[in-house]
Each structure stands twice: as structure tokens, then as C-alpha cells.
């Protein structure tokens, strides 16, 4: 991956990842508003907005973050399975995306009930807030891992590093003999 392409991919990855966190915080704000409101119109509006933000903002950002993260890992020296922090980020992101996609079916269900019935209730909102809060926690953990990049190489990463060192030594010796 060329430096220009790497920076472009990194820009998209950072934008999507940080945007995902921001969108979940906005989603939580809507959920808390709906939970604490006694007004059925506010509740309906909140469910409609949560469904809209979920499908049109959070899901695209989540998928973009996952895909660009994989591209960044494979296109740079970090690799996908060489360092523990990359591996944990990958596993947690896949976990978050899978739970999100499954959970959005619930959001469809509750939003349809809230919008389609005259007396909307707060049913399902507690689960919503729990999912969104745990999701936000997972995203923050991933962000911290990506910023601090704690040391720790997997056995696979160590083997690859040894192979690369051996290759460099061999090519250096060949150059030395040729000159």
C-alpha cells in the first residue's frame, strides 16, 4: 500500500470509527429522552429517529469501520493476526457489527409498534439502552486499543517477523557476495 493510499484509507477508517461512536451517543440520547418522557408523541418520534439513525448512520459507519480496518491491517506492516491489539480490535468490531445487525431487527419491531399504535409505550427501551451502552463501551475499548497499541506479538506474528529477518539477512549476504 502506497503512503498516499494508506493515509486515505486511514482517514476513512478514523472518520467511520469516531463517527460510529458519536452516532451511538446520539442514539443513546434519543433512547434516554424516550425513556424519561411521558409524552407518546415524543416516544414515537424517538423510536422513528432511532430507527433512522440506526439503519442510515450507525450500520453504514460500522460496516465501513470494519472493512477499512481490515484493509488497513492487511495493507500495512501491522497485519491482521500479528499483534494482539489488532486481533482484539478485529474480534470486538466483528462482535459489535454482528450484534448491531441482529439488534436492528428489534428496533424495526419496536419502532413499528410505537409508530403504528396510538398509545406508544416504553416497552423495549430498557433493552435498547442496555445494548447501546454496552456497544458504546466496546467501541471505546477498541478506540483505546487503537490509540495506545499495547505491545504484544502473536506466535504467528513472531514467526512472520523471523521469516522476514531471515529473508533480509539472506538478501544482504547475497548483495555482499555480489559486490
Amino acid at each position: 500500500m502506497t503512503p498516499g493510499l494508506r493515509k486515505f484509507a486511514l482517514s476513512i477508517h478514523l472518520t467511520a470509527s469516531v463517527g460510529w461512536i458519536g452516532a451511538v451517543i446520539a442514539y443513546l440520547a434519543l433512547g434516554i429522552t424516550a425513556m424519561t418522557s411521558q409524552d407518546s408523541q415524543t416516544l414515537r418520534a424517538a423510536w422513528f429517529s432511532m430507527q433512522l439513525i440506526g439503519w442510515d448512520v450507525i450500520v453504514p459507519l460500522a460496516v465501513t469501520s470494519l472493512v477499512t480496518g481490515i484493509i488497513m491491517s492487511l495493507g500495512t506492516a501491522w497485519g491482521l493476526f500479528r499483534h494482539y491489539w489488532v486481533l482484539f480490535s478485529l474480534v470486538l468490531t466483528i462482535f459489535a457489527v454482528v450484534v448491531l445487525l441482529q439488534h436492528m431487527q428489534d428496533v424495526n419491531y419496536y419502532a413499528a409498534i410505537a409508530i403504528g399504535t396510538p398509545a406508544a409505550t416504553t416497552g423495549g427501551l430498557r433493552g435498547e439502552l442496555l445494548h447501546a451502552s454496552l456497544g458504546l463501551l466496546v467501541l471505546l475499548v477498541i478506540q483505546v486499543l487503537n490509540i495506545y497499541k499495547p505491545r504484544g506479538m502473536t506466535a504467528y506474528g513472531w514467526r512472520k517477523q523471523q521469516e522476514q529477518r531471515a529473508g533480509r539477512t539472506a538478501s544482504g549476504a547475497a548483495v555482499g557476495e555480489g559486490s
Binding site: Y84, Q102, Y109, A112, I115, R126, W158
Partner: protein, 62 residues
């Protein structure tokens, strides 16, 4: 005798760092709690509404 990454060349892979073990345990606990919470059907499972009729899948028009 201990060796560091920057020191003598290793003949075996480095040990697993402590933070990796802690994180691994936390992730396993998280996944187990998630699975238990949904298998128990406590009212917010993601697959809980897969049995709903197709008319309720989408958002009705106002």
C-alpha cells in the same frame, strides 16, 4: 535468563502479555453474559422477534 525483543534473537515465541490475558478473560465473560442473557429471553434478545408477521417487519406509513 530473560531476553527482550530488542536484545538477543529469540528461538521461541514471546510469552503472552498480561494485558492480553486480562482482555481475553473479559471478552469471554462478555460473550458468555451476552449469550446467557439472550438464551434466557429476558425481553431484549435480538432474535426474539424473528417470529413476527411480515407486516410488522418494516415501518408502517403514517
Amino acid at each position: 535468563m530473560s531476553q527482550t525483543d530488542s536484545g538477543l534473537e529469540r528461538r521461541s515465541p514471546p510469552g503472552t502479555p498480561r494485558w492480553v490475558k486480562v482482555f481475553g478473560i473479559m471478552i469471554v465473560v462478555l460473550v458468555v453474559l451476552f449469550a446467557i442473557s439472550h438464551l434466557a429471553g429476558n425481553g431484549h434478545g435480538p432474535m426474539e422477534h424473528m417470529h413476527m408477521p411480515p407486516t410488522q417487519q418494516g415501518m408502517p406509513m403514517p
